[in-house]
Each structure stands twice: as C-alpha cells, then as structure tokens.
C-alpha cells in the first residue's frame, strides 16, 4: 500500500530522516516507535505531504504523494490538535470532514454513534466548541474524525498520549477492531511500547532518523523493545 523509496529530509544541513526502503503492505497495522527526535512525526508529515522531501519519494496506493493529491480521498489522519477547527462543535467538525469525504449528515451520525463508549458522554451534544474541550477529549474527537469516510489508510500520531487510562484501553480495543479489517492500513506512532505492541503486527524502531529495527510482533517483542530502549 505504501512504498517509501530513498526518502530523506534535511533541515539546514542536518538530516533528520533517511529511509531507503520501506514497504507497508495493504491491511498491515504498522507501529512506529522511537525517542524524541527520532523522526516519527517527520515521517508522517512526509506521508501527508505537509513537508517536502529532500530526496526520494513516497507512494501511497501507487500515487506519489507530493505529485498528485489523489491519495487524500482514501487517507484519514490525526497528527495533533492543530488538525481541529477550534470554533466548531465536535458535531460540526465531523460533518465538515464528512462533507469533504462525501458523507452526508446521516452517514456521519451513524458512524460517530459507534464511538459512544470512547466519548463517554463528554463530546456529543455538549454545546461546547472544540477549543473549549480538554486535551484528551480534543484528541478523541480528532481520532474519530480521522476515521470518517472509510479511509483505506489511517495515520495517527501518538494516539494514546494525553488520554486517561480508561480511554487508552477503549481506544486500544477500537484500534484492534480496526486493524482486524484487512482493507485498512493503519500507521501508529507511540511512546507506549505496551500499547503499540498490542495493536500493531509490525513495529519499526527509528533512531536519529534511521530504521534500526523492523520487527514482526510476537510474544517477545515487548521485552525486546524494552531492552532496546533501556540502553
């Protein structure tokens, strides 16, 4: 689904990301871990064509992302709170995103309804603007919005950060159901090794912009990762 070829990103002489060859097949749940500055967000920004690669190219479903915009119709993403429109209510935001993805109000309503247990009654029908929600609730709204319109590629940057324990567990359940659907390719980055090994079938470790581990998740993966990062 996603092919990365010789991609690199350099800021003023410092290379922050170099990935020579990375292939993420359709339906895979892909986890990205690494310390701060490892290049996780840079990679996602490149995937979403929010920054220009210095060299190389990324193809999503055979579409080169910085050449054509056609990948946008099947890609849903949530990077951070700057993806939210603060002066809309969560419902209006969902409808807006739905509009852009060809979903009418009824579709969006039906879709959003299945996340009631994650929303925990704090998001819908509260007559609050997104800017007035807590960080955690904003994140929930953003993640759900990224899933509107049956995207084939879902990109979530640190979905577990800022969430309360209950929501982390519920979100994990939700993501597990999502990755069971073999039509959807899910890319997640996280600092929480436990969560990410539970959700993803493949884990890639970035360090200073380089891929240093590419693991097919098994029982031993969590131990291996913990050992790696303990150094």
């Amino acid at each position: 689904m996603i092919q990365v070829k010789d991609i690199s990103k350099t800021y003023a002489g410092t290379t922050v990301l170099t990935i020579n060859d990375l292939d993420i097949p359709k339906g895979q749940s892909f986890g990205l871990v690494g310390n701060n500055g490892a290049g996780k967000t840079t990679f996602f920004n490149l995937l979403l064509d929010l920054i220009k690669p210095t060299t190389g190219r990324i193809e999503s479903n055979r579409i080169q992302v910085d050449k054509s915009e056609d990948w946008k119709s099947f890609t849903g993403s949530f990077i951070d709170e700057s993806f939210l429109i603060g002066y809309l209510t969560p419902e209006e935001y969902f409808y807006f995103i739905g509009d852009l993805r060809g979903q009418n109000k009824a579709d969006v309503d039906a879709f959003v309804k299945q996340f009631d247990d994650i929303f925990n009654g704090e998001i819908l029908g509260k007559k609050k603007y997104l800017r007035d929600l807590s960080k955690g609730n904003q994140k929930k709204a953003g993640i759900v919005a990224a899933l509107i319109g049956n995207p084939e590629v879902v990109i979530l940057d640190e979905p577990f950060a800022n969430l309360d324990p209950t929501t982390q567990i519920r979100l994990k359940q939700m993501l597990k159901t999502l990755v069971d659907n073999k039509d959807i390719t899910v890319l997640i980055s996280s600092h929480d090794l436990g969560h990410v090994t539970e959700v993803c079938e493949r884990i890639v470790v970035l360090d200073k912009g380089n891929v240093i581990k590419d693991i097919k998740t098994s029982e031993a993966t969590l131990k291996e990762l913990e050992a790696h990062f303990a150094l």
Binding site: L48, D49, L50, I51, K52, E69, K72, S73, T75, S77, I79, S82, F83, L84, I85, G86, Y87, L88, T89, E92, F96, I97, D99, L100, R101, K127, K128, Y129, R131, D132
Partner: protein
C-alpha cells in the same frame, strides 16, 4: 530583570521565522512614522509664525493652549486605533521566580517609550524654542512643555484603560467614539467648555508651578489603575484560559445551493461569527458603509468626482478588504489539517471569493440611499462595486498567497486587546488608490460617464476571466503550500 525581558523580546522579534518577509511593511510603517514626525516638526516650528500672521492681535502661546483639548481628543482616537499595549507572552513567566509586579511594571514602562509618546515632542520642543527665542519667559515655557509631556503620558495610560474596558464589549470601538464624540459635542455646543477649562488649567499651572502636582497625580493614579487591571489579568485562568461559551448553532443551510463550495462557506461564516478576532471587525462595517456621510453632505466634496470612486470602493469593499487581506491566515490554526483533506484548493478559494462578492453586493444595496446626494454618486458606487468584485477580490486573494503570519483566532495574547494595528489599514491603500487614480484620470480626461464605464469594464473583465484568474491564484497558493504550512505552525 528589564534587560532579560528586553533580551526575550529581541529574540522573539528576530527569531520569528518570517520576519524578513514583513520587512516591506515595516519600511512602509517607518516611512509613515517619518512623515508624521516631519509634519509635527513643521507644525512645531511654523505654528508660532502662522498664528502671528493670521491673528496679529492674539498671543500664539494662548491660541495654541486653547486648542490643546482638540489635540488631546485626536491623540486619544489615534492611539485607540493604532497603539497597542506591548504584548508579552506571560504564561511561561508565571511559574518562574519573577514577581508579577515586575512583569506589569515592565509592560507599562515599555508602553511609555511608544512612538506615540515621542511624536508630540517633535512639535512641543521646537514650539517651546521658538517661544523662548521670542522673549517668552523661559521657566513659563519649560513648565508649559513639561505639563504637555505629562498630559501625553496621561493619554497613554488612559488609552489602555479605555481599551481594556472596550475589550469586554462586543462593539469594541463604540465606547471610544461615544466618549470622544460626546466630549466634542459638549464642547462644541458650549454646554461644558472643556477646551477653555483645559487651557485655563494649563495657564494656571504655568502661572503657579505647584499646580503641576495635579496632572502628575492624575498620571500616577492612571498608572496604578492600569497596574491593577493588568495584575488581575496575570492569572492563568483569566489571561491564558478562555472563557467557555455555549456553542450556538445557526442554520446555514441556505449556502447549500453553492454545492461543493457550501462546506467552506459555512466554515467561513462560522469563523467570522464565532471568533473574537473576526467578530470585532463586523461592527466596523457600519462605519465603512456610512463612510460617505463624512464627505457627501459637504458641497465641496460633491464636486470632487474622483472622490466618489474612492468612497465607493471603500464602502462597498469594506468587508472584502478586512476579510480578504487575511486569507488564508484565518485558517492558519488548522491549515495542516486542511492540506491533508480531500478537496480541491480552488473550491476553498472560490468559497472565499463568493463570500467577498456577496458582501460587496449587500453593502452596495445597503448604500443605495446615497442616491439622495445625486445619481452620479450611486453610479460611481455601482462601478466601484463591480470593480471590487472583478479586480480587488482577485488582487487581494493573490496577495494572500504571500501571507506568512499565523492568526490566533481563539487565544489572545495576554495583553493584546485589539488585534488590529496600523498594518491592516496600510494594506488597503493600493486597493483603493489605484481605482481612484484610474477613475480620477479618465474623469478628468474624458468625462464622468467614460470613467464609470472604465471601472465597470475593468471589473467585468475580471469577472469574465474569473476561472482563469482563479487558476493562476490557486497555482500560486499551491506553490507556496509548504512555506505556508511551515509558517502557520509557528507562533508569533
């Protein structure tokens, strides 16, 4: 400590990523400032002789003093619209071992070094020198100058109090206009003669310097009042966190007739209605619309036909200019999200064009009563409206692609009351002066009807080539996509 604060601001200024891009505007502002300085210098040196010549019987010193009231009012108005309390991001400082008093004193102290406080000196000092040269008592003149300087500072701090009060109301600029207007009216109709009160007061001070204590006490009082207001706003829950307001939903389904543009138009309308930054420009629309009333009632202006185009462009294009100049910065807060969504950039821009076009039509229709002052005026306004839709809207959107400054819609910097500065007014000049020049020139060369026809013609050409122009503008926006994303994701 002050050194550290200055150091912080220095860094903030030079390390903000795109400050070089704004250097043209800064130069323009600098030129404007120099122009003001020159005018004040001219006034300061020449005033004595002008008054001497015009009114040989009177004492220029007394005449000037009697006009100080009007100058005070004008100064206050100018400050209100152009001067802002120096902004400082206080949140990171609150938990550090810095006394709140220090922060407040620093901000207030810095405001005293504003350009607006130095400007009057360029008139006061030369005028004082001329007075002394002409055998006025040196100590009297010095005390007079000192009094004026104190009054300037009083205005400085009075302005911030008015700003902080008006920030609480939604019609932010009404209080100042009401206050200044009623003071002027009371004075003009001689109900209470403030001008003579103030001039008598100043004269009394020059006669008896001990009375200087009165303005000094007023100044100190205002300083401490400001101090109190600012200190109260230095708590996280007031200055940093926004008040939670209940979301209001408005039925915007009428925009659905615009098809694929509808989601963006709804978004823009909500943006305008729900954010302090944009909401505060709405009441200004009334001023824009009624702008003609400053001119047309006077027969002098009714003969100056080139003014019709200027007023027409201004009053029908008021929303266009105010909204348009911040495209796409209005959406800067969530620009990255927009850029990863599935839509055509052209649609996004066209919805803004539609909105601006509609505003021009609405403002023109509301301005039809101007026909009272003659059919020529209405005709010129009509031509100006077409020009606005066809030319100015495209120009301002093209200009927007150079926009590299983030707008904070919902989070106001702690001391920032107004959000609009002189820059905003300057950008409007080319949009208004060019059509005014074209109109004035053809009017002078070929007559009124031709001039109207030329403006309409240019507007129609713009409308005719709308799709083509939009393609060019869209390409320009797409070309600067990465730069915009980068700039919009930076604060300041």
């Amino acid at each position: 400590m002050i050194k550290r604060f200055l150091n912080l601001e220095w860094k903030q200024f030079f390390r903000s990523s795109h400050w070089q891009k704004n250097i043209a505007i800064k130069i323009l502002m600098g030129l404007f400032g120099l122009y003001m300085v020159a005018m004040f210098l001219l006034m300061g040196t020449g005033m004595y002789f002008i008054i001497k010549k015009a009114l040989p019987e009177s004492d220029p010193f007394v005449v000037v003093t009697s006009f100080i009231f009007y100058w005070l009012l004008a100064d206050l108005m100018m400050r209100f619209f152009l001067q802002k309390l120096p902004v400082m991001s206080v949140k990171p400082l609150l938990t550090l071992p810095i006394k709140r008093n220090q922060v407040v004193n620093y901000v207030l102290g810095k405001s005293a070094t504003s350009f607006f406080n130095f400007l009057p000196l360029f008139a006061i000092i030369p005028f004082s020198i001329v007075l002394i040269r002409n055998d006025y008592d040196t100590s009297t003149v010095l005390i007079w100058a000192l009094t004026l300087i104190i009054i300037v500072l009083i205005n400085n701090f009075l302005n911030f109090i008015i700003e902080s009060l008006s920030a609480k109301t939604s019609l932010s600029f009404l209080p100042i206009i009401a206050i200044a207007g009623s003071l002027f009216a009371l004075n003009y109709f001689e109900i209470i003669s403030f001008s003579s009160m103030i001039s008598k007061g100043i004269m009394a001070i020059t006669a008896n310097p001990i009375l200087l204590a009165v303005p000094v006490l007023i100044l100190v009082g205002l300083y401490f009042y400001n101090f109190k207001i600012l200190k109260e706003s230095l708590y996280v829950d007031i200055s940093v966190k926004n008040k939670v307001e209940e979301a209001k939903t408005t039925d915007l389904s009428w925009t659905n007739r615009f098809g694929s543009l509808a989601p963006f138009m709804q978004l823009d309308l909500k943006l305008i209605m729900r954010n302090k930054r944009s909401k505060s420009t709405l009441p200004l629309m009334a001023i824009g619309l009624l702008y003609g009333l400053f001119f047309y009632p006077q027969p002098v202006y009714r003969d100056m036909e080139f003014m019709f185009a200027f007023i027409g462009i201004f009053s029908t294009g008021f929303f266009l200019i105010n909204f348009g100049q911040f495209i796409p910065a209005w959406d800067s807060g969530y620009y990255r999200m927009l850029m990863s969504q599935n839509f055509k950039y052209k649609q996004y821009l066209r919805s803004k064009f539609m909105l601006m076009g509609m505003s021009v039509v609405i403002l023109f229709v509301l301005g039809i009563p101007y026909i009272y002052f003659g059919w020529k005026i209405l005709l010129a306004h009509f031509a100006a409206a077409i020009y606005n839709i066809g030319v100015n809207s495209h120009v301002i959107m093209y200009g927007g692609s150079f926009n590299r400054k983030k707008i904070n819609l919902d989070q106001k910097a702690a001391f920032n009351y107004q959000g609009t500065g002189a820059v905003q007014w300057l950008i409007g000049i080319p949009l208004m002066l060019i059509p005014m020049g074209i109109f004035g020139l053809t009017n002078w060369l070929a007559g009124f009807e031709i001039a109207v026809a030329v403006l309409i013609g240019m507007g129609l050409i713009g409308i005719l080539f709308h799709q083509k122009l939009m393609d060019i503008i869209t390409a320009k926006y797409i070309a600067s996509k990465y730069k915009m994303i980068d700039a919009f994701s930076q604060e300041n």
